[in-house]
């Protein structure tokens, strides 16, 4: 069944692409089919209490690389959320976009592709599969954030999101591999508790990976920027689903991390700072959507805090919160989008009095907001109550940290929720509104009502979140969501939170709205990315300047560095200065010629000295008793000199002047190269090994080739194939020259 659904999604992407050519609404409608079917199926399973479904596709057998899915209770709950909210978002988007909007093909396909990736992530049962779909969600969300690609800011925000979440994915992969190594399996559902120092490293890596995706401080900087996306995308990706991936991961891996201290403390560090910093951020914003975005950072911080505690109660509370959050946050975003479309602004300083002109939206926002604030009779209340209970159930320092953070964060949450509602719908000069669009209103209403129904049917909700929590920690089975706890400590704290939050929110709402602050850290993230991009050309300009002599110098230096150590071990004792004094004379001539060639200013002079060097070397060959070799060398040298002279026709007589410093560099390099080659020869000559092959070669020449000229026999018989090969080389050169000569001829033709 999982395959069927996956294939249905992939087919849906194609169909949506085709339908999208007729307009964005047709595309969205077509795209909604697959998620709707999946959601229906998932809900029927929720009701029907079925066994986990699994699906596996071995991709590369030898590499333990495959796609493996498993639909356990946790995955089933997430599937319901992903596909259920997904369906509502598609419907909503039909109302959100005007019929003639751009991107009819791109938007629905990208959104459905995201939804598919998210399902894959939720179902994944191997670390590889998880990683692959994790990265897919990063990429598809990048496309969705960059949908309105008109401004540079949007693209920058999209890139920031991609860089942070994409890089986080790699960190996660490293962490997951360590986990798999320690636990001895790559199958997530089989991971057992791991211990040791590698477990600590793994815990930190996984937590960092989760934090990037779930927008935890200091990686949260991408989330507010991602609000540049169309509101359906924000509602779906940046509140209900994608950002939950990290949280989900924390829950899923908690069985493996139960004994790892680093897990708890890293999680608390991320969670607590995010919860507080996010809430403070939400209080400072004036764009209604950004208030919610910062609120999401805060809420995700709460989730990470609670889930990383690891106790049964905490996991039950965390998963309940996750479920509740998905519902109310999606509803709130949908409302903001509706406000935006109908009034043309999201600035709470400009908005006001919408409670009268948009009563349904106001009611939805109120229900969802109260659920977020944790007020009965709503689902959010029961979940938050459970979270406080979980905090109370702890011992040691984490008890106070967790309780303090949950309480403080919740007070701020109540405050920004109130500020958001009053700023948008509260008293003030009424803002003009456009007519209501049913497609936008209905999904928001459904989601808001779900919060109420969740409270009414608390037992059924427990049946959904309970088994999911049990999979993460067996001790979670004894807990349930409680509608009215009576006057217990947790409830007292709740009452205190709501009272304090309301006072704070009221106070802040009364104050004039200040200018929205810039996202601290976002600039830093952009700077880092851009500095890398800037830094790269800088070093490139230094390393890659296009000058051939410098390239050559670079290579010479590298070669010398690579081989010098070996050559330095020459054995001087084996060396003699010369066999005959004549050699010394020839060498002197050669050295003088070479030195002259290096400093002479005219091209002709340089060529002639080069020839002189060659003649000197031929002389040495003669002295060594190889006249034929010397003759060959002489011929070659002559041809080279003639060739050079012919080539001078179109060049200036003198070499171009070069700077002093460059001349010095060249001088130093050539002296070093000279010494290098000399010591190389000395080194090779100083270590005779085995027997010299000369006798074998002489015998061979007579036996095989029947000739006494050993060199000739080697060329024509012993290594005949190589000679043939050299002929091919020559043929290639000939063709090359022919081709280049034709170029020249054509050029002359073109010029005339």
């Amino acid at each position: 069944m999982l395959w069927t659904l996956l294939i249905a999604h992939l087919a849906g992407i194609v169909v949506a692409g085709v339908a999208g050519r007729r307009g964005i609404r047709a595309g969205l409608a077509a795209a909604a089919i697959a998620p709707a079917a999946t959601a229906t199926w998932a809900i029927s399973r929720l009701v029907g209490d079925a066994d986990p479904a699994t699906a596996e596709l071995v991709w590369v057998a030898g590499l333990d690389l495959g796609v493996s899915f498993r639909l356990d209770s946790m995955a089933l709950m997430m599937t319901t959320l992903v596909s259920g909210i997904g369906t509502l978002v598609f419907v909503y988007a039909i109302g959100y976009f005007s019929a003639g909007a751009d991107g009819g093909v791109r938007f629905p396909t990208a959104l459905l592709a995201f939804s598919t990736s998210m399902l894959g992530l939720v179902w994944a049962d191997s670390v590889w599969t998880l990683f692959i779909f994790w990265e897919f969600t990063s990429i598809t969300s990048f496309l969705l954030v960059g949908h309105k690609n008109t401004s540079a800011d949007v693209l920058r925000a999209a890139r920031r999101a991609l860089m942070i979440t994409g890089a986080g994915g790699l960190v996660l992969l490293a962490g997951l591999l360590l986990v798999a190594e320690a636990a001895g399996t790559t199958t997530i559902s089989e991971l057992g508790p791991i211990t040791g120092s590698s477990a600590s490293v793994a815990a930190i890596l996984v937590m960092v990976g989760a934090a990037t995706k779930s927008a935890q401080f200091p990686f949260h900087v991408w989330l507010p920027g991602a609000m540049a996306a169309p509101t359906p995308v924000s509602a779906y990706l940046h509140s209900a689903t994608m950002v939950k991936a990290g949280v989900l991961l924390v829950a899923v891996l908690s069985p493996a991390m139960i004994d790892v201290d680093a897990w708890l403390w890293t999680g608390l560090a991320f969670g607590v700072t995010s919860m507080l910093w996010g809430a403070i951020g939400a209080l400072r914003q004036r764009d209604a959507k950004l208030i919610l975005a910062w609120g999401t950072v805060s809420q995700l911080g709460l989730l990470v805090t609670v889930l990383s505690l690891g106790s049964g109660k905490a996991l039950f509370a965390g998963i309940s919160l996750l479920f509740a959050h998905a519902l109310f946050k999606a509803a709130l975003f949908l409302v903001v989008g509706e406000v935006d479309i109908r009034t043309g602004t999201r600035d709470i300083a400009e908005l006001g009095g919408l409670a009268r002109s948009m009563p349904i939206a106001a009611a939805v926002a109120a229900l969802a907001g109260l659920s977020m604030a944790g007020v009965p009779p709503l689902l959010g209340f029961m979940a938050k109550e459970a979270a406080i209970e979980a905090g109370l159930g702890l011992s040691g320092p984490e008890r106070w940290i967790a309780l303090g953070a949950i309480t403080g964060g919740s007070v701020l949450t109540v405050a920004y929720t109130l500020r958001f509602w009053i700023g948008t719908f509260g008293p003030g000069p009424a803002t003009e509104v456009a007519p209501r669009r049913l497609a936008m209103t209905a999904p928001a209403v459904l989601l808001a009502l779900a919060g109420v129904l969740g409270y009414v049917f608390a037992g059924q909700v427990t049946d959904i979140v309970g088994p999911a929590a049990v999979e993460a920690n067996e001790k979670a089975s004894v807990y349930e969501l409680i509608r009215w706890p009576g006057l217990k400590t947790a409830f007292v704290i709740s009452i205190g939170i709501v009272a304090a939050g309301t006072a704070l929110g009221w106070f802040l709402s009364a104050r004039p709205v200040g200018a929205a602050p810039r996202t601290v850290g976002a600039d830093a993230a952009d700077e880092t990315i851009e500095a890398t991009l800037r830094f790269a050309p800088d070093i490139t300009a230094r390393v890659q300047h296009g000058s051939l002599p410098v390239y050559l110098a670079t290579m010479i230096i590298a070669v010398i560095a690579a081989t010098m150590p070996f050559f330095a071990s020459a054995e001087i004792d084996h060396l003699v200065l010369w066999d005959r004094p004549l050699q010394a004379g020839l060498v002197a001539v050669t050295i003088v010629a070479a030195a002259t060639g290096a400093v002479v200013g005219s091209r002709l002079g340089a060529t002639l000295t080069l020839g002189a060097v060659g003649i000197g070397v031929s002389g040495i060959f003669v002295v060594h008793g190889a006249p034929d070799l010397a003759l060959t060398q002489l011929v070659v040298e002559t041809v080279i000199v003639v060739g050079f002279v012919l080539g001078f026709g179109s060049l200036a007589r003198e070499f171009p002047r070069s700077s002093e410093s460059w001349q010095t560099i060249r001088l130093v390099l050539s002296v070093i190269s000279g010494i290098g080659i000399m010591s190389a020869l000395a080194f090779a000559g100083s270590r005779p090994t085995g027997t010299a092959p000369i006798e074998a070669l002489t015998d061979e020449a007579v036996d095989v080739g029947g000739g006494k000229n050993v060199v000739n026999v080697i060329l024509t018989d012993i290594r005949a194939l190589d000679t043939l090969g050299e002929v091919v080389v020559l043929a290639t050169v000939a063709v090359g020259i022919l081709a280049l000569a034709r170029v020249r001829a054509d050029e002359v033709e073109a010029a005339s």
Binding site: W59, V60, A61, L63, R106, I132, E135, G146, N149, T150, L155, L162, G166, A167, L170, T532, R534, F535, A536, I539, T540, V543, Q544, L548, Y551, L552, T554, M555, A558, V559, A562, T563, F566, F567, S569, F683, A684, R687, T689, E700, V704, I718, L721, D722, G725, E726, V728, V729, A731, T732, V733, V735, G736, L738, A739, L740, R742, V743, D746, E747
Partner: protein, 524 residues
């Protein structure tokens, strides 16, 4: 070795067909086109080249049957060349890239107003040199292959007569290439001095203790290692590994784009084939005490690390796609070097994984890089100069199919799952991790992320940055060049994409082939 050459060696010609098609085909092509003017007409040389390259490719199949299935690996021409699974796979890659390049080249030459059979002759010559390199069982034969390969490519790089860039590229490549060839030759001499042989198997045999030549390798270690270092310099230059990469960006950018594609695929494959054969077979021992690879593997690791980091960082700042791809080829060289590094590991299991990763990477890399440069050829338009990212802006709107294909190829280069590039990187990194080269694997992952940024820039430009939406469509359509995809280029790109996706989704397809080829390197 001399004893073998004493009698006139018997040559099993039937095993040499893939090479003979290319080299004799090249010679024949230059002959017949100069004699029969009708064959010089535009299109004819290309068609003949495709025929020759195709014949060479197809003829690898019976050879494969013999060396991999029935008769086992063998050497021909008195141990000058090995015909084994590795040779055949590399030959097939090179022959395929000849065909794909010729497909692109034909339209390119017409568009640029250039023509002449010599382009194709040089292409075939160069490919035959590459095959010789991949097959060489003797360092001198290897050097010959290197020369044939290189000289033809030097000229090809310079052959775009209207662009001084092109001539500059050819010249630079020639000067630097000649320098590195000289070093390579000197390296051969030193290795011969130290081991008493130039034959790849014999070197390995002589290095084992006690060896036939009565040498004690440990005493000669520094002579041998100096030779090994110089050989490595020569190879590093050919495969453009940092710090011997300096020529790459300029030459890749200056050379005619289809030729750049050929350089990035066939030339690099030949270079790696030679490198792997020489180092993994000659200079590696498995399971014995004093491992010579302990001396060269660290150097290889440094080259790989430098290539990955510098290649990726320098690529990230480029705004010229062709130059970007040049730097990215340096990054790929880094990954491939990791493969060689793992293939030389003392543990046979790791070495096997490394060898397989290397072969798989070479196959997939050749396909995606030829395809990428084919797209660059098409997008640049007449003049072959318009390679900026701006040229790709809004490509999806102008030519959706082309943009999608390019996206697949770039995703593959970036190593995104379900493309062959992912599998290739995965296997290489897996081998590195098996071999406990964690630092190298970590550096490679970092480089992969940075490099992914640059591919994404191109992809983003193609899909998101529709050329100025507000400007009105009619205006835009008027100002933006229309993109025609010639049939030849289209076939070439589609084939490349098929390989890329095919091996990405079903990486097990060529499993036996890859395993057999790697087996040659590792389990000699």
């Amino acid at each position: 070795m001399f004893a073998q050459a004493a009698t006139s060696p018997e040559v099993v010609w039937s095993l040499l067909w893939p090479l003979l098609f290319l080299s004799i085909g090249g010679v024949l092509l230059v002959t017949v086109t100069s004699v029969i003017p009708a064959l010089r007409r535009p299109g004819m040389p290309a068609a003949l080249t495709i025929l020759i390259g195709g014949a060479s490719f197809v003829s690898t199949i019976p050879v494969w049957r013999r060396v991999a299935d029935t008769e086992g690996p063998t050497t021909v021409v008195a141990g000058a060349m090995s015909v084994d699974a590795f040779t055949v796979v590399m030959t097939a890659i090179i022959a395929a890239s000849v065909v794909l390049t010729a497909l692109v080249l034909d339209d390119y030459l017409r568009r640029e107003g250039l023509d002449g059979p010599e382009w194709y002759v040089l292409l075939l010559m160069s490919a035959s040199g590459g095959v010789l390199m991949a097959a060489a069982d003797d360092l001198i034969v290897l050097f010959m292959g290197l020369e044939i390969l290189s000289i033809a490519v030097y000229v090809l790089a310079a052959l775009h007569l209207r662009r001084t860039d092109s001539q500059e590229a050819g010249f630079k490549y020639f000067v630097l290439g000649a320098f590195s060839s000289a070093l390579f030759l000197y390296g051969i001499a030193l290795v011969y001095g130290a081991t008493g042989s130039t034959q790849i198997d014999q070197i390995a045999a002589n290095l084992r203790l006690p060896n036939e030549a009565g040498l004690t390798p440990i005493e000669d270690a520094s002579l041998l290692l100096a030779g090994v270092a110089l050989l490595l310099v020569g190879f590093a230059f050919k495969v453009s590994a940092v710090p011997f990469h300096v020529w790459t960006p300029d030459v890749y950018q200056g050379a005619p784009t289809p030729i750049t594609g050929f350089m990035a695929s066939a030339v690099k494959v030949a270079g790696f084939a030679g490198l792997a054969r020489v180092f993994v077979i000659s200079f590696s021992e498995f399971g014995s005490g004093d491992l010579i690879q302990d001396d060269w593997r660290p150097i290889l690791a440094i080259l790989a690390g430098l290539s990955l980091v510098l290649g990726a960082f320098m690529a990230a700042g480029q705004s010229d796609v062709k130059r970007m791809l040049a730097y990215s080829s340096i990054v790929h060289a880094g990954f491939l070097l990791i493969g060689v590094h793992a293939a030389g590991h003392g543990d046979a299991g790791v070495a096997d994984a490394g060898g397989r990763a290397l072969v798989f990477y070479l196959i997939t890399y050749a396909a995606m890089v030829v395809g990428s440069f084919a797209v660059a050829t098409v997008v640049a338009g007449r003049g072959d100069a318009d390679h900026g990212v701006d040229a790709y802006r809004g490509l999806f709107r102008k030519h959706p199919a082309l943009a999608l294909m390019m996206a697949v190829l770039l995703f593959s280069q970036a190593g995104i799952p379900f493309t062959s590039g992912f599998m290739a990187k995965f296997r290489v990194l897996g081998a590195a991790v098996d071999g406990e080269a964690y630092v190298l694997a970590g550096v490679a992952m970092l480089a992969a992320v940075v490099a992914a940024l640059l591919y994404l820039r191109i992809i983003v430009a193609m899909f998101l940055d529709d050329a100025d939406d507000e400007g009105g469509d009619e205006q835009v359509a008027g100002s933006v060049r229309k993109i025609d995809v010639p049939v030849g280029a289209a076939i070439s790109i589609v084939l490349a994409v098929i390989v890329t996706i095919g091996l990405g989704v079903l990486p097990d397809l060529g499993r036996g082939v890859v395993a057999a080829a790697a087996d040659v390197l590792v389990n000699r």
